[in-house]
Each structure stands twice: as C-alpha cells, then as structure tokens.
Subunit: 157 residues, 2 copies
C-alpha cells in the first residue's frame, strides 16, 4: 500500500482576513492583492468560493504579526466599496496534509474530515489540491486536530 | 532572477458542485465527502470559505463526466438538510499556476490577478498555496485566460 500522506503540518503563525461582499467582477482580486503586496504584507493562502448576486467573499491568510498592518491596508482600500465588510481571525490554525495523489487515492479526504469530526473540531476553511489538503481550524483546536490527523494517517511517533 | 512560475495548466475536464448554506459544525464535510467517495466520484479540489450565521458554502470539483452522478448523490444526502441548496457548473475551467515559492516571491499573485483582470476574465473561485495557485473561470474565458497567464509569466512559445 502506497504511503500517500507524508506529513501533517501545523501552522499557528497565520491570521485570516476576509473581505465580505466584494463585487464579483474582473479587477477586484487584482486590487486587493496589489494593495496588500504594496504594503509589504505577504499572503500565504487565498480562498474564494463561488459568488451569488454578483457578490462574493474573499479570504486570505497573512503572518499573524502582519495582521494589523494588513487590516489598515484593506480598510483603506475598501472604504468606498459599497457593502463590503472586513472581518478577521487572529486565532486560527492551519493544518496541512501533504503527500502525493491525495485526490486519486481514495479515502484521504474522507479520512481527514472524519478524523476532525470525530475529534469535535470544526473546519472553518478548506483549500485542497492533489498534493496538499489545507484546513483552517480554531487555534484552541489546533493541538487536538493535529494529533487526530497524525493518528488518522499513521504518522504518530 | 529565479524562474518562479514553471507552468500554467488549463483543465477543462472538471465541473463544480456547490452546496450552499450547510451547517458550519463538525461532521458536515465528513458526510459530504464520504457520500461522494462511496458513490465512486473522485473529488479534485475543495474550496470552503469562512461561514457566518453558522452556515457556510462548500464547493468542490469533480470530473465533468461524473457531474450528474455526483449531483444525484449530493441531492440525496442533503434532502433533509434545512436550507441547504445545490448548485453546479458544468462549464468551468481550472487554471493552475505552478512553481516554487509563489507566496514568498512577491508579485506572482498580483501578476496573475492583474493579467486576468486586464483580459476581462472574472475569477470565480480561488484556491492557492505556496506551490500552486488555482483559479476557476468560465470555460468561455479559458483560452483567453490561459494565454494571458502564459504571457504574464513569460511562458509563451
Ligand atoms: C472577487 C474577485 O475574485 C473577482 N471575481 C475578480 O475577478 O477579481
Ligand atoms: C462546513 C463543514 O466544513 C463543517 N464546518 C465541518 O467541519 O464539517
């Protein structure tokens, strides 16, 4: 049996920024990430789900130490965007399941979500690809979630 | 200067499924992806943004040829989920910018979004990590978006 999942990484150094109800039209993402980059804040993960009523929410993560500066930049940018609101979470944790063929090997995603569910951990954001499953959980759940995933994938010491 | 972006891949073989207004509590993602997996449908990408009012939306992509079967599975699953609705898009295209240090090398994200914006392409979903930026666009924009990104990253023949 292939060793599909090679590692589960816990990152507690990030914070989430969400701009809710942005216009879902060309140019918005470019404006946001240009402003953040020009402010010297590095973006790690971006998550945007499908919009409706021509609006969508745009979330991204930055180093926790840069959260306040990032919020200043974004607040300035969206100050004249009708209906857009800013929210953030300085108490998040990012768990990353890494490996190969995560999609094509059945059961990895289900096992991850089942392990988190069994541990009572709520999944706040999800961002996956074939080689990397990312889930955001509350920092208060981080250790428990990390242990649950390590155990689920047989990576415990 | 490092060659940071190595490839821009276009995938027109996927379809998107979105369950709107699912309960944002432990166990929901596990139920969805267990049901889909048990139905023999392979999931490629999962995107979930942060919830509000204890609800969130859950999107994922599957091979276009499996869309109808997937919708049957999900409809059955959510039939007694109060307020949850199912939507889908059989006409999406997934563009993936691949490379190394996409986050730590400044400008890659901004360049991608600016190129798509300049081409008039709307970004429907975003799913990124340090080694892979994924954006979903309309299939009618696929060729134009692919060309714009190849050009933006100097990968044109
Ligand atoms: C929301 C944002 O991604 C927008 N759809 C854009 O294309 O820039
Ligand atoms: C929406 C879904 O991800 C839910 N929060 C869960 O943990 O399963």
């Amino acid at each position: 049996e292939d060793i599909v999942v090679s590692d589960v990484h816990l990152d507690e150094q990030q914070a989430r920024v969400t701009i809710r109800r942005v216009q879902d039209r060309p140019g918005i993402a470019a404006e946001v990430f240009t402003a953040v980059a020009e402010g010297g804040v590095m973006v790690d993960m971006i998550v945007q789900n499908v919009g409706h009523d021509e609006l969508t929410d745009l979330s991204f993560t930055v180093p926790r130490v840069d959260l306040e500066r990032c919020l200043l930049l974004v607040r300035e940018l969206i100050s004249d965007w009708p209906g857009a609101t800013l929210s953030y979470d300085g108490e998040m944790a990012l768990l990353t399941v890494m490996g190969i063929g995560l999609r094509s090997h059945t059961g990895v995603g289900e096992r991850m979500f089942r392990a988190l569910s069994d541990a009572g951990v709520n999944v706040q954001l999800v961002n996956t690809s074939e080689i990397r499953f990312g889930v955001v959980v509350a920092r208060t759940d981080a250790a428990k979630a990390h242990q649950a995933l390590l155990a689920a994938f047989g990576l415990q010491a």
